[in-house]
């Protein structure tokens, strides 16, 4: 599904990612953990194609195609979704309108028929019911005045509507209390399926109690330092990132 090879990324002239290798199979859930400043968010933005994140070396293969030169919207249409750490507030644009525009833009890109208002609303109602999201949240402007938990739930709703093949969840747990975290984790778990891969980026082990990954990778100094199963997360919880934050960390 996703294969990252020797990825080097420079932001504002500084190299942040220094040779990432990562491979996600269909339906797999991977967690990337790491200390602050390790390059976690850079990796998520680079996969989604944000301007200013320059790939200087290496490639990102998605379904076998190198996507490094694709625009963010083209990557989205190909099936990549990034759940933002800080979802952006867009006052004056209703959530429903936004979702419909996004879905139909992607459908057009893929040569599929657009959904009309009726079809869209019917589909949306089902998604909303599954995720326990209120109608009120749909009518309000995108994320405007939403609580932290509502914003993250809205990201999950977008994922559910856009049905990506790859979802990158950037610090989805940040800023959430335990109740909000459970709701969001429940939403993510519902969206797991054998055709959908997920890359979960987090600083804290806590999230992994609710969304259990198949693989865990430790990112520090712009490289994957260690990979393992879910037990690696527990080890990190016990020992912290000290082992990986030394400046002379393993090459």
């Amino acid at each position: 599904m996703l294969e990252i090879k020797n990825l080097h990324v420079t932001v504002d002239g500084t190299e942040i990612l220094k040779g990432i290798d990562l491979s996600l199979g269909s339906g797999e859930m991977h967690a990337i953990m790491g200390p602050n400043g390790s390059g976690k968010s850079t990796l998520s933005y680079t996969i989604a194609g944000r301007a200013g994140y320059d790939v200087t070396e290496g490639e990102i293969l998605f379904k076998g195609q190198n996507i490094v030169d694709l625009s963010p919207e083209d990557r989205a249409a190909e099936g990549i979704f990034l759940a933002f750490q800080y979802p952006v507030e867009i006052p004056g644009v209703a959530n429903t309108t936004f979702l419909k525009e996004a879905l139909n833009a992607m459908r057009r890109h893929r040569g599929e028929d657009e959904l009309d208002a009726m079809q869209f609303v019917r589909m949306l109602r089902e998604k909303v019911k599954e995720l326990g999201i209120s109608d009120d949240m749909l009518k309000r402007a995108v994320n405007a005045g939403f609580s932290g938990g509502e914003k993250k739930r809205n990201e999950i709703l977008q994922m559910s509507v856009l049905e990506p093949a790859l979802a990158v969840l950037d610090e989805t747990d940040s800023g959430l209390d335990i109740d909000a975290l459970k709701i969001v984790a429940d939403g993510v778990n519902r969206l797991r399926n054998p055709e959908r891969s997920m890359l979960m980026i987090t600083h804290y082990q806590r999230l992994l109690d609710y969304i259990v990954p198949d693989f865990v990778h430790v990112l520090a100094h712009g490289r994957i330092q260690r990979s393992g199963g879910k037990e690696l997360a527990q080890e990190l919880e016990k020992n912290g990132y000290a082992e990986f934050t030394k400046t002379d960390a393993a090459a």
Binding site: A48, G49, R50, A51, S71, P72, E73, R75, A76, A77, F81, L82, F84, P87, V88, I90, P91, G92, V93, F98, E101, A102, L103, A105, M106, H109, A141, Q158, L162
Partner: protein, 443 residues
């Protein structure tokens, strides 16, 4: 550049040329007002950028174009008249072409009893005494040069008088069509709105161009709100690229009255919309909102002055605009809280989004406070499109051009959502969407 003295004063001698044919030529007070105002105009001259109030707006067109007043052929056919509520011809609408009233295009029926809506020339004939009592501007001594020029040269305009406790439910639309002439033409509309105690009305003014000729319009509107009266005034300025449009609105609010205004500026080569509100009665309030969309080399100027004269008055201003290409906008907002005006609540906000690095905004919010127990706030920001928001939308599959448009709509939405008339709000939203560039732009 030329100094004031080596330049011929625009419209010099205008009264000698036309006084006899102007409305009210047989009324002593009108003739005296014209002469007095003309003298003041000559004394003051045309505003220049050396004056603080005109520092950012230069009336260049008056330096290099000779406009002839009143010469527009007012009988020309106008193909399409703008209208929102009156679009089907069913609503109340007054139409002025090059400043001339066009009864054949207007519809003054369907108004409730107690409402007078007519053109100024008609009021001069029907009730000259009442008009004199309302129009004689107590501030005339301090009138600016353009107001004085208007008072000297005023030709026609609309007059609305709503009697005590009469509520005009349907909005009244007034259309000023310019640019329909052979050669540059000037017009001097003069409007008067008087709402007696407890009266309510809504007015939508369209300023537009039907032809492509250069035009200069200098409008003065006087609004007088009685106790507990409410007026909502929307101005949709969509004039052509060769139009220069300056307008001054003077509003006096008595106790518990409310004045709401919404100005949409999206046309003209140069426009200046000046509003002066005197909150003269306790409990009175005003809301001055505006949205501006400029492109090419257009220039718009919104200048406001709110005087809080007595205790417990409220003002709220929000002007938001989007500038593309080499366009330029000016915002000058001033709130003055006079010594007696305790418990004033005054707010003013100006935000501009620059879509091009050649566009320019000059913004000057000012507070002058002489009372000690007040709540006042002002702010001004300018910036570009938020790159994070743009990325957010694009990461959801929305193409860049469409994402940019959504963000501009979102930006202006804050002020457009304050419009309470659903039909007007939808119309303005449509105009904004229509204005947006549709082509793909690269960042």
């Amino acid at each position: 550049m030329n100094t004031q003295t080596d330049q011929i004063l625009p419209f010099a001698g205008i009264l000698e040329q036309a006084a006899a044919s102007l409305p009210g030529a047989d009324l002593d007070w009108v003739r005296a007002m014209r002469i007095r105002s003309y003298d003041r105009y000559v004394e003051l001259g045309i505003p220049t950028v050396r004056q603080e109030a005109w520092k950012y707006t230069r009336l260049k067109t008056l330096e290099d174009t000779v406009f002839s007043p009143y010469h527009g052929d007012s009988n020309q056919t106008v193909d399409v008249l703008p209208g929102i509520h009156a679009a089907s011809g069913a609503g109340v609408r007054l139409v002025f072409v090059n400043g001339h009233f066009r009864a054949d295009l207007s519809n003054q029926e369907e108004l409730p009893a107690g409402v007078i809506l007519e053109n100024l020339a008609a009021t001069m004939i029907r009730d000259s005494n009442w008009l004199e009592s309302q129009i004689a501007n107590p501030l005339l001594g301090a009138a600016g040069s353009l107001e004085s020029l208007n008072a000297a040269a005023m030709h026609d305009g609309y007059v609305l008088h709503v009697a005590k406790n009469v509520v005009v439910v349907k909005p009244i639309e007034v259309v000023f069509v310019g640019g329909l002439s052979e050669g540059p033409v000037a017009s001097f509309p003069r409007n008067l709105i008087v709402l007696d105690e407890g009266a309510e009305a809504r007015i939508i003014v369209h300023q537009c161009s039907a032809g492509t000729d250069a035009s200069f319009s200098n409008t003065v509107s006087t609004v007088s709100l009685g106790q507990n009266a409410r007026l909502s005034l929307a101005t949709l300025q969509e004039e052509g690229d060769d139009a220069t449009s300056v307008s001054t609105t003077q509003v006096e609010c008595a106790r518990d009255s409310a004045f709401d205004s919404m100005t949409l500026s999206m046309g003209a080569q140069l426009s200046r919309t000046e509003q002066h509100v005197a909150l003269a009665g306790e409990g009175s309030s005003c809301r001055l909102d505006g949205a501006y969309l400029m492109r090419g080399s257009s220039h718009c100027d919104h200048t406001t002055l709110v005087d809080h004269l007595v205790p417990n008055t409220t003002s709220n201003e929000m002007f938001k605009g989007v500038l593309n290409d080499e366009s330029r906008a000016v915002f000058q907002g001033k709130i003055v809280v006079h010594p007696d005006a305790q418990h004033t609540d005054g707010r003013m906000l100006n935000k501009t989004m620059l879509l091009s690095d050649r566009a320019e905004i000059d913004t000057k919010p000012e507070l002058e406070i002489y009372a000690d127990d007040v709540k006042c706030a002002h702010g001004a920001t300018s910036g570009q499109l938020d790159e994070t928001a743009l990325f957010y939308l694009r990461s959801r599959g929305i193409p860049e051009a469409q994402a940019r448009n959504l963000l501009v709509q979102s930006f202006l939405g804050e002020v457009i959502e304050r419009i309470t008339d659903d039909v007007l709000r939808d119309t303005i939203t449509e105009k904004v969407v229509g204005w947006l560039p549709t082509g793909g732009q690269s960042s």
